[in-house]
Symmetry: C2
Subunit: 460 residues, 2 copies
Amino acid sequence: MSKVQRIVPRTLKGFRDFLPEVMIPRERLMGVAREVYRSYGFSPIDTPALEYLEVLTGKGGEESDKQMYRFTDHGGRLVGMRFDLTVPLARFAAQHVGQLGTPFKRYHIATVWRGENTQRGRYREFMQCDFDTIGTESVASDIETSLVIHDLLREIDKEFGTGEFTIRVSNRQVLSGLLERFSLAQQTTSILRSLDKLPKIGPEKVALEMATNTSGTQEQIEQILQLAQLPCDSQAILSELATLAGDNELANAGVQRLRELVAGMDAAGVPSHRIQIDPSIARGLDYYTGTIYETFLDDLPGIGSVCSGGRYDNLAEVYTKQHLPGIGASLGLDRLLAAIEEMGLSNKGTTPAEVLIVYFDPGHLHDYLRLATQLRRGGVRVEMFPEPKKLGQQLKYADRRGFPLALIAGQEEFDTGECQLKELATGQSTKVAMSISGGAIGKEVGENNPLVAAIREMLH
Amino acid sequence: MSKVQRIVPRTLKGFRDFLPEVMIPRERLMGVAREVYRSYGFSPIDTPALEYLEVLTGKGGEESDKQMYRFTDHGGRLVGMRFDLTVPLARFAAQHVGQLGTPFKRYHIATVWRGENTQRGRYREFMQCDFDTIGTESVASDIETSLVIHDLLREIDKEFGTGEFTIRVSNRQVLSGLLERFSLAQQTTSILRSLDKLPKIGPEKVALEMATNTSGTQEQIEQILQLAQLPCDSQAILSELATLAGDNELANAGVQRLRELVAGMDAAGVPSHRIQIDPSIARGLDYYTGTIYETFLDDLPGIGSVCSGGRYDNLAEVYTKQHLPGIGASLGLDRLLAAIEEMGLSNKGTTPAEVLIVYFDPGHLHDYLRLATQLRRGGVRVEMFPEPKKLGQQLKYADRRGFPLALIAGQEEFDTGECQLKELATGQSTKVAMSISGGAIGKEVGENNPLVAAIREMLH
């Protein structure tokens, strides 16, 4: 044996390994998202992790530029690692939309990288899960986007039990129009920035900040803040907003869109308590131009919005002269997984399999293989322990991994034709008939197999 | 409007965008692999795209080191982008196996990067799809690995129609033992390298190369080459191999393992024509130490092995003193997708949806939304066109995207309560009853819905 120079096995700061315990719910969550996106006709795409640096710089703001991983590649090109999926979508749309046509509906589930300060508990590598509709300004897309968000959260609840949720919607035009009416349009960014702090610092401090940083009068500031202190009922909010909008066209257009949005969601069967018009949400500052969405878990609002997005005017103007309006949102995978963890809903199992076949008697390897095949053909996920170790050791393994069931069969069981199914959680054993016929295993072996039926019943 | 400085939208050389047409079958293929891995109890993991450079260098050979994307990060660390999933697995296993325990079975589907020469048609970013069992030398794992390969190819055939396939198996110990017997063990690498060329340059040129590069006698070289010219029947091959092995322990151990592997696959119901013992496959040169696998599509053997792997002695010895033997294989996603494309099996559709609801009459937006909800609740994937454009334009869109069906309903259809379902491929329309009840849509709306049933029937 040659002497080995050992290297410490470790991950980079801000990066992490995903162990099975974390990766299993993560894959389930991605699976749910994929199914919902597909059910609305969104198509998957993927783009490279690396892009020409010039494609990425200046698109996500100063912070993104600073945090971007960048280097010179083998061919002397300046390259960067994508820091979000929106800039690559813009580049992609500019490049391919001529071929693909509009409306172009895509989803993209992929990893992005940002060299963030890890002191804030942030990771430098994380996954985004976006869907967007490009090339239409129709309100039907605004309605559909909120329906997708609704179905995402409903399906996630079904899968994990995350409970009820509220989609908060607003329209940037309402606030913009109001500020236009007050001749404060030039100060929109500053006002939005203050308004965004409302849930954190409260109305008085926000009002003070606005009075300091803008030319708004006391009365105007009060009216702006009133947007955030509206009643709960959608229809009542819409009439108050219409009053505040006065004769401003932009604000009225925004109110009208909100009205159509709420009516459309109602027509599509969304329970009204899951929708809340909230003109104080002001996501993304300059980025969004119309409808805006934020989504909160009713049992855990404190973790923040788990699905956010909105309408934007011109996605790809830095890459093409073609006007490409769009609307979309992003599901916060990591935040949802944190919520699932915090709510105690994550199954701690580290195996996707349902049954461990204990490899008990070395003389019956082929019979264990036959049993495993039978169960798999019957749709049961089954692992066979690879070595004929002691029963206790294998059951300990099954327990630690989180298998619901262990199938035990030794010489006695093969003689009587009945194996034991042990429920790991309770320790209870049940005898169930098995049939080990030699030779090739036909297609039909999984169907109507009493062992499969017994396992199915014990699993449910 | 501010003047915009435009940037050419383009991808880096050797990188590519995945458009829906390519990404849809890619996702289906990944989904099949995931399901098969899970059915055997392999758990998903993920590791960072970036690793400390020292973790990656020197592990994949000179070529990998040269091709690796590497740079200095914000914190002055030397980092590299992973070029495969095996080196990260070794690092991961060394770091976590104490916590996870053995046997540790994982799958990992993720992107890797290599700055390869693109002139050979290679990409610099591609996806790997690996599964491995770590921590056991049991033959049960050798059998299981071939069963997983078998089920992968069988399920891929079911999903895409790729047809029959052959898993070629060998054991490195057979050849190593034979060379040991001939006192040619020191020249193993050179001999393996020559033997690997057998399918390309034929036995005569290989013999000539061996005669030039090694100290093997004419008779020895002939015996080595005989390994590649054995009969087809497994039992006949096994006895010939036993004869060639003579009294060499290593070779006999290899033959014995092959015998147990073939018997185990038979017991698990794998048809014998899908297994072929082929001692000439010599994958990976020094890397593998026991069983080796290569898998070929019977209708397209020329594209090479679509699933390859084998047993290795000590996965993580550069990172830990713990002895971690393992076995695994990698599904060649890109090669399989190329095969599916070449065999004309890829559905050219660019939408995952099954039905396009034509947004025909602007006055019935809410009814279209209701219909869409009904169909989705019934498990039909449905896209609603977002704008009330002309019928012809929307049908052209449906056709180009590859929708099987378009649902058409205007004032007349809403009056009569019957919509039209148009099959895009044939242009044929069928009238089907629909029910648009106002108000909230209950859970039951998708079940026993005659419209859903009619669509299901037309889709199958």
